[in-house]
């Protein structure tokens, strides 16, 4: 039973403030229960990886985190405050969270530079000069300074996703939420995106990553949470999850993936 118990006693990077706290989070779509009471904490500077079979609720939890989906039960706290229900407060919270989507979702009518500058310009209203400065800096950070004037249609999948990461970073968020960032990419381009994510982690960015890339979770993750059918069946440091899983479900899941360590 200890698998889903309060994990605050066993943390690799404990001592950091809690950035996101999920408390018995429930989410239903009509008769289908996507999340059946999920409890999880994300501490500052941690990389928390959410793994599990498709449809187990990982992406749903992520989308509830910034209010793209509303929860039906339980609580989500962000930086000590309850996640707002009203649009205006929610918007200010969203500005402190960066989200990267599986399908990149770059705005096709804007160049890479304009995409990255859009958030600071329109939402944070920092002024054109500052917005462009940040955009240039973030594009350089993800290695795409030379593509600033390109439109998304001219970029490869991996490049588009890196621009999407830059776009989220330009908002200077306190946490980055990644929803299967490499699932839609060709194998050749997965590496470049994961490198950017690893560099971010090394800098101390708080990250919640829904992923199927087990080697990434193993090497870069500080905490791994295993989902199945809307529940957290096990959570712990990567060593435990991958080398010595405590539950049947986890072992099954990793076994099906052909995970050999």
């Amino acid at each position: 039973m200890g698998a889903a118990a309060d994990p605050r006693t066993v943390r690799a990077k404990s001592g950091g403030a809690t950035v996101v706290r999920y408390l018995e989070v429930v989410k239903r779509y009509g008769g289908f229960t996507a999340l059946a009471g999920v409890t999880l904490e994300v501490h500052a500077g941690e990389v928390v990886c959410l793994i599990g079979p498709s449809g187990s609720g990982k992406s749903t939890l992520l989308r509830c985190t910034n209010g793209l989906e509303t929860i039906d039960g339980g609580e989500i706290e962000f930086e000590g405050e309850r996640l707002a229900r009203d649009e205006r407060t929610l918007r200010t919270m969203r500005q402190r969270m960066g989200m990267v989507f599986q399908s990149f979702e770059l705005f096709p009518h804007l160049t890479a530079q304009q995409n990255v500058a859009e958030g600071p310009r329109t939402v944070q209203r920092v002024g054109n000069a500052e917005a462009d400065r940040r955009a240039t800096a973030m594009l350089a950070k993800v290695g795409l300074a030379d593509k600033a004037a390109s439109y998304p249609s001219a970029l490869s999948g991996g490049q588009q996703q890196r621009v999407a990461i830059a776009r989220a970073l330009a908002m200077e968020p306190d946490v980055m939420l990644f929803d299967e960032p490499t699932s839609a990419l060709d194998p050749e381009t997965i590496g470049e995106v994961l490198s950017v994510m690893k560099a971010l982690a090394d800098e101390g960015m708080t990250m919640v990553v829904v992923t199927h890339e087990m080697s990434f979770a193993r090497r870069v993750g500080d905490w791994v949470a295993v989902f199945d059918a809307g529940r957290l069946v096990e959570q712990g440091p990567p060593d435990q999850i991958f080398d010595a899983p405590r539950t049947e479900r986890t072992r099954d899941f990793l076994g099906h993936l052909g995970w050999a360590g």
Partner: protein
């Protein structure tokens, strides 16, 4: 059978005036129907529930009625209902505007709905309000899909102005048929009428083709 094509040239001023009226009707109708269509589309997508039903009902109604019937109905019924006597031109314009607004509302709605949800979510995730997301992200993309359809609607409207001839509005079709009645030059005038519409409409149709190629959506 002797043909006398000079009648066409003799009545060129009347025909030119008729052509001008046709253009006037088309332009005036679109001037009403584009903002009107936007308003109805917004009502239908974002309005309070009873307003949504009203907007949807309006669109469904006018898309399922022949325009010529709407023209007659407007001509006979509106004066009685409102007590106001409108000129035939104004009545024709009203009928055309009611009709085209409904089609435009569908065009705008479909255009906006065609933008993937993910785009809106990405905008919201950045902290944009729904209004900002609509204005900065959805509308610019939707316009690319909407403009070619609007152009196509324009061409159809241009042809549909011929229908208000039945209530004696002096656009091109009415004028042509008047001249035919006066001169008894049936073949010449009717052929001239067809040729004039062809000359005016063909370039417009080609322009629409160009627009559809230019704005072709590649995902």
């Amino acid at each position: 059978m002797t043909l006398d094509w000079s009648v066409v040239w003799e009545h060129r001023e009347a025909l030119a005036a008729g052509t001008a009226t046709t253009f006037l009707l088309t332009i005036a109708t679109m001037a009403i129907a584009v903002p009107g269509g936007i308003a109805v589309a917004l009502l239908r997508m974002y309005g309070a529930v009873p307003l949504r039903a009203l907007a949807a009902g309006y669109v469904e109604l006018f898309r399922n009625l022949p325009l010529i019937l709407v023209v007659y109905w407007a001509f006979y019924v509106v004066p009685i209902l409102t007590g106001v006597g409108l000129s035939a031109l104004a009545t024709g314009l009203a009928a055309l505007a009611l009709n085209v607004t409904a089609y435009n509302a569908e065009t705008f709605r479909a255009g906006i709905n065609s933008i993937r949800r993910g785009q809106v979510e990405a905008a919201l995730a950045l902290g944009m309000s729904r209004g900002q997301a609509l204005r900065r992200i959805v509308v610019p993309q939707a316009l690319r899909r909407i403009l070619p359809v609007l152009a196509s609607t324009w061409v159809s409207l241009f042809k549909d102005t011929s229908l208000v001839s039945v209530i004696a509005v002096t656009e091109l079709a009415y004028v042509s048929m008047q001249v035919r009645a006066q001169t008894f030059r049936v073949l010449e005038m009717l052929t001239a009428m067809a040729a004039l519409y062809w000359l005016l409409g063909y370039p417009q149709a080609k322009l629409v083709d160009w627009m559809q190629r230019r704005f072709r959506v590649t995902e």
